[in-house]
């Protein structure tokens, strides 16, 4: 299986749903600092799930608040990102 850089997956999903967000802000809180609302966060989770081929359970959402956290999560859970 081809391996993807988890940051690329997150940034591509982010570019789709919130192109105005700076992908270099990897440590900023997507909700509090970058202004994504619940609809955006849901879209982001769906877009990442689709791209990475995994489902992110809702119970994991609270720990996924930054680009870096999302990328690390993919590196850990998504077979295509290892």
């Amino acid at each position: 299986m081809k391996s993807f850089d988890p940051y690329e997956v997150v940034n591509a999903a982010l570019a789709d749903i919130a192109p105005d967000v700076d992908p270099d802000e990897t440590g900023a809180d997507l909700h509090d600092d970058l202004g994504l609302d619940s609809m955006d966060m849901l879209n982001l989770a769906a877009a990442i799930s689709e791209r990475a081929g995994i489902e992110i359970p809702e119970c994991d959402y609270p720990a996924l608040r930054t680009i870096a956290q999302l990328a690390a999560y993919l590196g850990e859970h998504a077979p295509s990102c290892r």
Partner: protein, 450 residues
């Protein structure tokens, strides 16, 4: 086929009024080329208004014979942007490219003083070719004022006269301008277009079905959009204009209530427990769905204040205020929202919000809302008292869901609560109906999935 018959059959594609306050706009890019076959609902151009760039659909089937207005040129609403030959008509490029003055709503022609009455008169047309053309176009040349040398009637005169010419009352013109209605599309039978025709059209527009959507090749969408800062400044101006008008003209009243969401959120959690991110339902959609259904039970808040009277919406078209991170806001519309189930409302809302934020809304997706919902559901704001978006007569504002002390069965409990404020236009609807709306909204929230 006589020369000119194709021009009779051709259909103009005009600069649409994308909002009540739009006077002019420009093409950002054409998504079709001359010769392209288009179908009703196809996106053919991106139009730049002072608020946003919007994908604009065509409302006829046919072939694009001429792109009249090049990208970048600012033109008034109603200007012919392109010509189409309807299916079945043979496009005649010679005629199609003839110089026909564009029809413009924003700069209306002087009121025609007379109705053409056919009388037996001598034709002033000497050229057999032009006489033929006049016949084909059913133009009575005896009453034409020639613009050629010595008052001679020219090809332009005949083609101009062949444009559908109708009498339009000054009130109809004013209403059409106010509501962005293209008077050439109005049906008035054989009579002059009057104000009622425009008002009927406005309420019919509000009831128009969701139009078919064509998928546009991805690369057609990568053309550079205009500078964000410029867009933000122009959107600010538009918001300033509309809101100032609303604040000055509409006597707002507000009724407010607090709503216990415990039961609602429990139902929602149960519903979402086995759903993936792509199919999960958010409270925002539950609010939208309940608001739309409440508008059905209190139809007096759902509609438009037009020319001094209330015109009830024939369906609930719910405007959803979307705040943009780059500043400004947009209000795309969920059409027939009360007739849709919660899942459909959620799907449409997600799609509209995403495309509002990524600059990909279609022209048919904004405007014509019959009532609007604004939610400041994510921040620290408990309540919002919004301003009505004319010509609507009501707007529902919701604060953030937060825990509050709540008296229940003589005991003090802590409950998730939302503050709901309905602002109504007192010219159209009284506070009693506003409170009935809130009561109905509260009831629908208790059974979100019913």
């Amino acid at each position: 086929m006589p020369d000119g018959a194709a021009s009779l059959a051709r259909v103009p594609f005009t600069m649409p009024a994308l909002g009540a306050d739009m006077d002019e706009g420009s093409i950002v890019e054409w998504l079709v080329a001359e010769g392209a076959h288009v179908h009703r609902g196809d996106v053919v151009a991106v139009v730049q208004t002072d608020k946003n760039d919007l994908d604009v659909e065509v409302f006829a089937d046919g072939t694009v014979t001429e792109l009249v207005v090049p990208p970048g040129e600012k033109v008034p609403v109603g200007t012919v942007l392109a010509w189409l030959a309807p299916n079945g008509a043979v496009p005649n490029t010679t005629v199609a490219s003839a110089q026909v003055p564009p029809v413009s709503l924003a700069a209306p022609a002087p009121e025609p003083a007379t109705v053409y009455e056919p009388t037996a008169g001598e034709s002033h047309v000497t050229s057999p070719v032009l006489r033929h053309l006049a016949e084909a176009l059913h133009v009575d040349t005896a009453h034409l004022q020639g613009s050629g040398r010595g008052g001679r009637i020219t090809r332009d005169d005949i083609e101009h006269a062949a444009q559908p010419r109708r009498r339009i009352s000054p009130r109809a013109r004013r209403l059409a301008r106010e509501h962005g209605v293209d008077t050439s599309t109005l049906e008035s039978g054989t009579h002059a277009v009057v104000g009622e025709d425009v008002l009927r059209s406005v309420s019919m527009l509000a009831a128009t079905d969701v139009r078919p959507v064509m998928s546009v090749p991805a690369q057609a969408h990568v053309a550079p959009r205009r500078d964000r800062q410029v867009a933000a400044v122009e959107m600010r101006r538009a918001i300033s204009r509309v809101m100032t008008k609303a604040w000055q003209e509409i006597p707002h009243y507000q009724v407010a209530t607090r709503i216990d969401l415990q039961r609602c959120l429990e139902s929602l959690a149960a519903l979402n427990s086995d759903r993936t991110a792509a199919t999960r339902i958010l409270p925002a959609a539950v609010f939208a769905h309940a608001a739309a259904r409440a508008a059905t039970s209190v139809p007096e808040v759902n509609g438009h204040w037009l020319d001094g009277s209330f015109v009830a919406g024939s369906s609930v078209h719910l405007g959803i205020v979307v705040a943009l991170r780059t500043g400004g806001l947009l209000a795309p519309v969920i059409r027939h929202a009360a007739d849709k189930d919660l899942f459909t409302v959620m799907d449409e809302m997600r799609d509209l919000v995403t495309r509002a934020r990524t600059g990909r809304l279609r022209a048919s997706e904004i405007g014509d809302a019959t009532i609007t919902l604004t939610q400041l559901g994510e921040g620290e704001v408990d309540a919002v008292v919004p301003i009505i978006h004319p010509p609507q007569v009501a707007i529902l504002g919701l604060g953030a869901i937060h825990d509050e002390p709540w008296a229940h069965d003589g005991m003090l409990a802590v409950r998730p609560v939302v503050h709901a404020t309905l602002c109504g236009d007192h010219r159209a609807v009284d506070g009693r109906l506003g409170s009935l709306f809130l009561a109905s909204f509260t009831r629908f929230l208790q059974e979100p999935t019913s």
